[in-house]
Symmetry: C2
């Protein structure tokens, strides 16, 4: 590997001068600069980033750890964070935690280890009981589902209110027997539980009594699982006229199952999702959804992280993004 010393030797200057040229610092004579640049080109030299990072203590790179890179929501979130990172001259690098608590902790640990200047962690595995493990002396912003009253800045999705709005929307459109499709409600702070709480509150507000048979619990968050659950419910003779899906991704399976069963959407059953993923508006019927203001979430998360990287020491910030209801064909009245 060719190093800065090799260049220095070949160009007849000191390593420091090469470094100055590399970092386009002033106070280098033009002729010297030209000679060094020429030598760099001749020897095909590239800076060793590991060494520079060690020395500078900065990488100008932040990490984004998401549960799964192949979910459209996280892809779109990643793109939004990359875009915001650019405003601050920050590279963004994406890692996958696979929804596991352990991997989320590893992401946290690795980042402390100076691969990144800071980390945005979309936490789904970590819970309130892990709060102590989050006391890191390193810039981290927690993103997403759960609400931590933890030691770190947190940008939260409007889970309960968004779900409430979605279900209220179904009710306004005439639905009275509304299915909720989500993951298991093991814990009070996961997406499913928070969104389910919004569902229940909307029913209560409308004076509709909850029917536990209308709650479909999935083992996995997937269209397959959602489709199977709907098939099973219909086969069992369950009557319903609306479906609230915990995510658009799950709604994909619900819509497909209803089509398979010859149940017309929105005429017989209305369907709404959550996340407002890009493809939702191109589905047939286009899918109504709750838009959690992904761009705002991304902007806020990056801004908070940049502040911490710059050394801000204030109390942890808790920001809940606003939401918008996107009414489309799947909940239309005609």
């Amino acid at each position: 590997m060719v190093t800065i010393r090799d260049i220095a030797k070949a160009a007849g200057v000191s390593p420091m001068t090469v470094s100055n040229v590399l970092n386009s610092r002033p106070h280098v004579k033009d002729s010297t600069r030209a000679r060094v640049l020429q030598t760099i080109d001749d020897l095909d030299y590239r800076v060793n980033i590991a060494a520079r990072n060690l020395r500078r203590g900065k990488t100008h790179t932040i990490g984004l750890a998401v549960p799964e890179v192949d979910r459209p929501y996280f892809g779109e979130l990643g793109a939004a964070i990359i875009e915001n990172g650019r405003r601050h001259d920050l590279n963004v690098v994406i890692e996958q935690t696979e929804r596991s608590r352990e991997n989320e902790l590893t992401a946290l640990a690795l980042s402390r280890l100076r691969m990144y200047d800071g980390l945005i962690l979309s936490a789904v595995g970590l819970g309130e009981s892990d709060v102590d493990l989050l006391r890191v002396d390193f810039p981290v912003v927690i993103l997403g589902e759960r609400i931590f009253q933890g030691p770190l800045d947190h940008v939260a999705t409007p889970n309960e209110d968004g779900a409430h709005a979605a279900v209220q929307h179904l009710i306004e459109r005439g639905c009275t027997r509304i299915i909720a499709v989500h993951g298991s409600l093991s814990d009070d702070t996961d997406v499913s539980s928070l969104r389910h709480a919004g569902y229940r509150r909307a029913l209560a507000d409308a004076g509709i009594e909850e029917d536990s048979r209308l709650t479909l619990t999935l083992d996995v968050f997937s269209p397959e699982a959602a489709s199977a659950a709907v098939h099973q419910a219909v086969d069992a003779g369950l009557q319903f006229d609306g479906v609230f899906c915990v995510t658009d991704y799950v709604a994909l399976g619900v819509l497909r199952a209803l089509a398979d069963l010859g149940i017309s959407v929105p005429d017989e059953v209305k369907v709404i999702g959550f996340d407002d993923v890009e493809s939702s508006r191109f589905l047939t019927p286009s899918l109504s959804s709750v838009n959690p203001s992904k761009d705002l979430i991304a902007a806020k998360a990056v801004d908070l992280l940049v502040d911490r990287i710059k050394g801000a020491t204030g109390d942890p910030v808790e920001f809940v993004s606003p939401y918008a209801l996107m009414a489309r064909e799947s909940t239309a009245v005609r």
Copy 2:
């Protein structure tokens, strides 16, 4: 920041012993090990990865540079590469190049700079003329669309043959006037051009004369653009009974436009895509598509990269993955 020296001092040993404990090397007395571990815990010490990387010259991390992280295809590809990386104890980190030649070159340069042990670069901006710039003394595997007879290992998508199979499938199902929707054909080696070549060959094989009005060129690869193009074609009175879409993502817009126009799929028009993205089979109608064997691409790319990281010096490998035609409702005959 607490360093290995601090631990050494506090535990009354040398930095080297701390390092040995950290790297679970043998030949450390149990009592010493225990004391060091305790001190590490007490002082909440973590290894500084930048320093370790510099010293070891290895990061156990590979980079994956993709054009856009928010396209389902690249999300799924990323997940597949992460999975394969794990088999080799390699972390995978995803970066976005935004389809720009410049960013692809930056990814190449940065990776050389020892942030990663190797790079998988999904190149769409680089062309044959950049071949010289690819002569890097660093493990890189080029992925994807274009065919390089370059100096690097290359795992290629079966663009032309896959497109040929798709269009042949439409013809077998009775289509004779087949639209092709893709990006501009500025260059012979981009996705659009390669897939268009397959389209033309399938028409020729079937003795169908090509009609240039049936080629719809998009400025951007997006459902919006595709939808607009279809609307415009129909408004202009274009007659057609099949649509070959350059990607499933583009097909989303085509399907939506046809639905808006009241044109029934597959009865009046049959539609097929390329990529076989996960959501395609849940659309209504479910979308026929060409599956480019993403998992194989990922496995092959990681294997080749690992070989190079281990020092393999053989000639560049060119691997074209197989494809499979997924026939679904959008091309059904009934």
